[in-house]
Symmetry: C2
Subunit: 321 residues, 2 copies
Amino acid sequence: MYIPTLADMLVAHERIKPYIHRTPVLTSEFINKLAGADLFFKCENLQKAGAFKARGASNAVFGLTEEQAARGVATHSSGNHGTCLSYAAGRRGIPCTVVMPHTAPQAKKDAVRGYGGVVVECEPSTTSREAVFAEVVAKSGAEFVHPYNDPRVIAGQGTCSREMLEQVAGLDAVIAPIGGGGMISGTCLTLSNLAPNVKIYAAEPEQADDAYRSFKAGKIIADDAPETIADGLKVPLKDLTWHFVSNHVTDILTASEAEIVDAMKVIWKRMKIVMEPSSAVPLATILKNKEIFAGKRVGVVITGGNVDLDLLPWQRPEFGG
Amino acid sequence: MYIPTLADMLVAHERIKPYIHRTPVLTSEFINKLAGADLFFKCENLQKAGAFKARGASNAVFGLTEEQAARGVATHSSGNHGTCLSYAAGRRGIPCTVVMPHTAPQAKKDAVRGYGGVVVECEPSTTSREAVFAEVVAKSGAEFVHPYNDPRVIAGQGTCSREMLEQVAGLDAVIAPIGGGGMISGTCLTLSNLAPNVKIYAAEPEQADDAYRSFKAGKIIADDAPETIADGLKVPLKDLTWHFVSNHVTDILTASEAEIVDAMKVIWKRMKIVMEPSSAVPLATILKNKEIFAGKRVGVVITGGNVDLDLLPWQRPEFGG
């Protein structure tokens, strides 16, 4: 297992700068009053392809040799990673294949195709996904870029908190959502090296709290199929992300589905940004753990903005809509 | 009639800087391809209180003498100006009264009150509004701050395009929505002085095209009660804004209701920002007048982000929702 270093992150940042946005940091007095803290929202929903994953994907794609690049890249993801890998591959002009279940939302397939990637459909089971993916790679020789358990991806995600350090002085803490742990691992990589006094918190839905339980148990616990509105956060930790989480995270905090949707609506209403439920989990946990953050300067990563605009979470009957 | 000058705008900018955001300029490759032009979106939806009107209102409020300030400010507006005047008055710690019809949406009343302003309700007629407003001013001696036909307000709005000039090099044109003409007048004030080669376009709903018809006729034509989804743009030009529009605007372009809603959804989907229908009118007109903007670098003012998140325009039956 190769553990990415500060140098990898710095190289990644130089490499990907032409292909990513240096996203703005937004603040809201209203939300600060609500939280009793100074929150600085790093808006990766405004990132290329709508998610921080454009960073890691671009680092992986643009780090390939010409020979590797000619064979293209491949992944399995029905989430933002698939879209972002397709975006990065498109920018380099190389093939990208994304394996996803035929049951995945049409919008996700369209997003991959919109950037020039090819969608290969499998059955909605791990066995089918692995078989189909193996076949894709065997045929094309494409480079597998894992959504998060990949040192190139983690080094790329680490560029986000490097920008935050440049954009906001005197941070006491940074908080980001945790699913597989790619963003949190990149955050750990950067902050443990460049700002070791800044505390790192991870935020997770109660209904998909495998990282929380792993953290408390001291070993990876993977749930089979958790259900949450924060659909980017269902995947489990892996060895590389566990390394960073177990070594550098101060604590993992959780929030209920209703708390997540409430926090999401507050952010839309007051900050005027479109962001996905996963990105609201940090604010939801801050608002229910005010004593931890009281009076502190806290960086909050808004991880992505890909959401169904025809049916917003608070319009669903289960959230009172 | 006092016509605000470049000096007024520069003083306004220094005066209001502590109370406003220097809003970011966002871009979207997808929308650029759609338009065949390089569009730079100045995001005043991310402004304090959710609209560019925080600029003009702050300039008016912080330009008052202590004696004037003690008597407070007042306006009639059921839109963003009322909210923004309340915001600015709250920052200075002075009273603010906003007269609006009792039929105005609860959210608008709540927004004014949320910043500490007082809402005084009138009947939904011009006669009632004027009578109630005259009474408020007679009783309090409050300073009237008109939503747009006020040199202090126009000088404040002009700070937006000054920032745009600093943020984007080589602009060929700037386009903003036009209702009463406050933003456009501020834009004219700044650009005619600092960047006279940059063309200025105004964008208006077809269903409320009184500024368009005024521009073509060479004199102010005021409609009584136009109806449009772009509800910030229903008000007519007045003498001061007509001065700027008639002297400095290159052209006024219009778009249909459906075109406005389509442009709005594209911006939400691709740029991940919450903005109101009025703010989508410029993109709607760009997309139907591509020949004017082809290959050009165009600043586009996203004027505000105050919208009902429970029922988005494209969810309404009349727009196919």
